[in-house]
Amino acid sequence: MANPVEQFQIEPLVPLHIGSVNVSFTNSALLMVISVALVTAFLTLSVRGRALVPGRWQSMAEVFYEFVANMIRDNVGSEGRKYFPFIFSLFMFVLFGNLLGLVPYSFTYTSHIIVNFGLAATVFIGVTIIGFSRHGTHYLRMFFPHGAPILTAPILIPIELISYLSRPFSLAVRLFANMTVGHIMLKVMGGFVVALGVLGVLPFAFLGAITVLEFGIALLQAYVFTILCCIYLNDAIHMH
């Protein structure tokens, strides 16, 4: 049976070293480039016609656009509109990463925690900067609820601070855990199909069901990642 975690191995395709820093072009980087190229091609080619009555491809592009636009409108409000390009890019990048990972023999870059942490930390730092630039030092009031007795401050403030600082980690870990668990499960089930011979029909049927579930999880996790970013952005914009 193949090693179920072997699929997460990063292999340098074009070895590159700048000084002592390893900046090789890896299979993860290749999938990221493919995903960005696919998203760009999908969105630009499908709306090229600019038809008033959209065709099939243009409808699909508009579905994604309206999905994210509604998400921002419902969770952030009209002030969130100027952050639409960033949030839409984030959503499409995570979504295509999750979906491309389900293609056989490809690689899931969202199953690497550092990729997700990079995305989450960008959002976290950006949101913190937005919060401080809009509210100044008043933003620090978040860490101490109104009306709580002042004596509880030494306990409450560290707790709120830890809870705030753990946001990018929990964003990153959630996506990483969902993707990794799903792919390991698929690999293990796939190993059973070969090992059990004729009886392998049973795990094969199960494998089909899990694959469908994995597609659902790929969509759901991209949605969850994006909506939590919207919620954090909403916090920074509307403190009250």
Binding site: I159, S163, S170
Partner: protein, 121 residues
Amino acid sequence: MTDESNHPNLEDLGARVQAARAREAVETGRDREHSGSASSAGMGLGFRIAIELVVNIIVGTGIGYLLDWWLGTRPWLMVVFVFLGGAAGVMSIYRVAKGLDDSIGLGQASRRGKSDQTDGP
């Protein structure tokens, strides 16, 4: 073949197209609400709660470790921050379970959610 006078005029057609579109919007909107299967949504919530607790404790421990390393008070701050991280984790879980995770401070969240501001925890 077609009689010029009794084909439906454009306004009528436009009204019918709009009505059909509104109907379809309602249907697809409903479809979208019901499409997320209960099991995968429940699994998502379970994952969130588990991850929230673990991550909060790890971040708390990490902060304690770094403060210790900085201030030279080797084990003590880490011990304190493990417990603070646990408290933050439980608070986050409470917030996720109550659906109040749209705010940083628990006080603000519950005030926005229920508009009852009670005394501290």
